[in-house]
Amino acid sequence: MNKIVKLAVVLGVISAIAGGILAGVYQFTAPVIEARNQAALKAGLLEVFPGNYKFSELKIKLKSPDPAVTFGKIYKVEDSSGNLVGIILDVTTPGDQAPIEMLVGVNRNGTINGVKILKSLETPGLGANASNPHYYVNKKKKITFLGQFKGKKVTDPFIPKKDVIAITGATITSTAVSRGVKAAGVAAYEYMQKAGGS
């Protein structure tokens, strides 16, 4: 009996010390991680809507027209005089191995302004080329896979090998990204038309 108590006390003391140390390290690293995430988000927003714009979070929920695609946070893009230029959606779409999280910027006139992949676990050398800035689907014009969405109308079909150039050997990734962009475009355009004059 005494033996068991002794074992429990030893293990308890060691675990408590370990817990205390972890709490300290967490306190120290949490603000750094948070600041990095904020900076990465800011850079991402600027990448899908380059220019002198103001970004603010929109407290609305948009329903995705595609059941496989979900939306996270939504950001409003305004020019310096406060006119609505477009909105950016944080989109999650099912990738080849894990969900792909990306930012999709949609113009008020119903075209895609830019797409950036935030998180993905696609196969290196194949699906991972979706976010490779040196992988061109159109080598002559130097258009990247994500770059080809710029200026595309949200009413387009967004089907790889038809109106979207697919990544060689990565049809699943190409389809997943196209579906995500399409869903975000449709939902965002619908919202902006309703919001109208604001």
């Binding site: 074992l7 293990l11 060691i14 390290v25 690293t29 990095r36 990465a40 290196p124 050398g125 194949l126």
Partner: protein, 202 residues
């Protein structure tokens, strides 16, 4: 002095954890597709192994034999979590790529194996040296494999282009099968050269 150096050397070649003991190979195959992944993994692995060995050896007199494994796991898990938090804060993009394998250092058999086989039976200073030796042994192997795989599979080393643009990368080198291929070749090469050395001595 000489036997202290021998403890370090032991981890680098004669009992190299990857090439000779051949344990903990799962993460070796997974993180060696790019040099930057291998570098971060080496850091996390060395951090956890060295500190765990030091702590385990310094409290070994108070560890009751019956619950030594749970205690090793608590110590190792603590350092793994610290390594993961530090990597997340300071190397966020690489951390995102190999997050899973850093967290899995906690169940890496090299670390629990060294805690049990070495640190639990030896003094603090010797355990520190053993940790350093084993970490160096692990790191040189995975960085070598990563350099070979990234060079032929992507034409770069640590994201710096080395091969001319005309070189068509062999994709298989950065996909998992090549992890086994390169590892196997390295194991064969080391065994062969050790054997040759032994014969030369005779």
């Amino acid at each position: 002095m000489k036997d202290k150096l021998k403890i370090i050397w032991n981890g680098i070649v004669p009992s190299n954890p990857v090439l000779i003991l051949a344990i903990g190979l799962c993460s070796v195959v997974a993180v060696t597709n790019f040099v930057k992944n291998a570098l971060l993994m080496s850091f996390a692995f060395s951090f956890v192994l060295i500190l765990s060995e030091v702590i385990v050896s310094s409290i070994r007199k108070w560890i009751p034999d019956e619950i030594r494994v749970p205690i090793f796991v608590v110590v190792i898990a603590t350092f793994t979590t610290i390594a993961a938090l530090l990597s997340h804060a300071y190397f966020p993009s690489v951390y995102d790529a190999i997050k899973l394998y850093i967290l899995l250092v906690v169940v890496n058999c090299i670390i629990i194996g060294r805690a049990e086989a070495f640190a639990y039976k030896n003094g603090v200073f010797d355990s520190l040296l053993d940790g350093i030796g084993m970490s160096l042994g692990y790191s040189w192997v995975i960085i070598t494999i990563a350099v070979i795989r990234e060079l032929f599979g992507n034409g770069t080393i640590a994201n710096i282009r080395v091969m001319p643009h005309i070189y068509q990368p062999a994709l298989i080198m950065i996909l998992p099968p090549a992890g086994f291929l390169v590892l196997g070749v390295l194991v064969g090469w080391l065994e062969w050269s050790l054997k040759k050395k032994k014969e030369a001595k005779k």
